[in-house]
Symmetry: C2
Subunit: 304 residues, 2 copies
């Protein structure tokens, strides 16, 4: 296995064809499994809720990878090997690859082929924050679910569930809807007070309505999740009360200042699962990504 | 000029370098002009508010282009030549290119090089519907504004103005914020009634709040626009009342059922401008794109 990985040659077309066929067979065998079962199985197997964010910003990649023909892929391959034993999921923010145009997409595709062949049990998330009108979304479905082969992607709620249908219809894939984001200005729209039902005295914040809509209306195929930032544990507690055992993708640990302890207290579901806790910059640009992933994983384990 | 265009060879690296330098010089000469002046100048010059949507869905491209090494680019090149005399703007929904992975992005890049060299006065919009947290958005800025060279892009408002800052900071580029989208289910979130100010009896709908925020808070660099669907002329009238002379990108004409007459009555600003009226499928997959663009352009002219 080690030799195979070391001899991985992204330029061999034949190899890629063989590998993608292998992957197809593997995913076919799993067709009866829900996409959330994939995450939960991996999380339980390695006793971790850690998601490692492969946000391999080209400008920050260590010099030793820059001589490689595919520097982002080479860096990712190294990061994957360093951190995989602690990773229940990998999350890739596609912005860092699109920043390099078609070359970036090529290196992301290579990263995905590598992950799907060598680590088919690890949950693969594309942080793409997409959402267009219905027929156009099919383009993103083709790209992110089928061409790259992600298990789940992140989506904006603003156009409503009708527009998101091409994503929601994919029973074999996960739809992670932005609910309460981790950025400092998240509240500008998300905290707006809404009347519901209209003209009643009762009011709710926009993020609460989004959580309710996803939980009650959009999740017909049991493939929805929510983005809930680690930087807002109070809101996370309330969203857990709304959304039953639904899984949350939790950005904002590490560089953005969120705390593992607070997230675990606020967000675990009744199965002691329901969280995908992501750290990107905090792990991959640290002095020792392996140690940093291990440290975070062990911190998570203390509360599992 | 005609010969040059016919001999356009996307594979010649040298040619691409020369062309991109030409483009750089051209855009440098224009650095003192606001990006909205570019659109308005073109609209006035050709007396048109028509935007042609190059949403070149690979599955629908006519057979005769499929033998080309770059079918999406070849189709676009033909569409550009057929419709450019009526086009104040071209809008490209990037989903239809991303659907084909790195190859799609390569053909989109080729399309952009061609447009920027031969039609530098036509306003170029990327319908990308992006929005991530601040530092990540820089990746999309690099890709869409700088690598592809779009004049303006569409953005989701859900993360707030703080997150969008890397886009808003670009005085030389346009930020088109989704306000009232054209899809049938747009109202699910956008029509929610909000209390503003909190706890007052007064209420507004979410799309009204977004329009106000963009107009009063996010538009410090005078580079913001709004997406307002042609399928909701009543809302468009109200948004015109909120947003002064701000320019609206108007999808939903043609295939989606919006009417040019209603849009022109509801949306023109005090300068008899302020609208970018888009048709994509309705033009490019019609039997005669040139005639269809001309027909729409003349319909618009009747109300200008």
């Amino acid at each position: 296995m080690a030799t195979e990985k070391n001899s991985w040659n992204p330029k061999s077309k034949l190899e890629l064809i063989v590998l993608s066929k292998l992957t197809a067979v593997k995913s076919d065998n799993k067709s009866k499994m829900s996409i959330l079962d994939k995450y939960n199985k991996r999380a339980k197997e390695i006793n971790s809720l850690l998601c490692v964010g492969l946000d391999s910003d080209y400008k920050k990649i260590p010099d030793r990878f820059l001589t490689n023909e595919m520097p982002q892929f080479a860096f990712n391959k190294w990061l994957i090997e360093e951190t995989q034993e602690y990773a229940a999921a990998f999350k890739i923010n596609i912005a860092f690859y699109e920043a390099r145009g078609d070359q970036g997409l090529k290196e992301l595709k290579e990263t995905m082929e590598y992950l799907r062949v060598y680590y088919p049990d690890i949950f693969l998330i594309c942080d793409s924050k997409r959402a267009d009108i219905g027929n156009t979304n099919q383009g993103y479905v083709n790209e992110l679910f089928d061409w790259f082969g992600f298990d789940a992607i992140t989506l904006h709620p603003y156009l409503g569930g009708e527009a998101l249908q091409p994503f929601l219809d994919r029973k074999d894939k996960g739809c992670i809807i932005l609910c309460r984001t981790s950025n400092p200005g998240a509240g500008e729209l998300q905290d707006l007070e809404l009347r519901k039902p209209f003209n009643s005295a009762q009011s709710k914040q926009l993020w609460q309505i989004v959580a309710e809509k996803v939980y009650y209306d959009w999740n017909k195929n049991n493939n929805c999740m929510l983005v809930v930032g680690a930087t807002y544990p109070e809101e996370m507690k309330k969203i857990r009360n709304i959304a039953g055992d639904m899984t949350f993708l939790v950005p904002g640990i590490g560089a953005q200042g969120g705390s593992v302890a607070e997230v675990m207290k606020a967000g675990l579901n009744s199965q002691n699962l329901g969280l995908i806790i992501n750290s990107s910059r905090g792990i991959i640009f640290s002095e020792n990504p392996k140690k940093e992933a291990q440290r975070l994983c062990e911190e998570i384990r203390r509360f599992m």
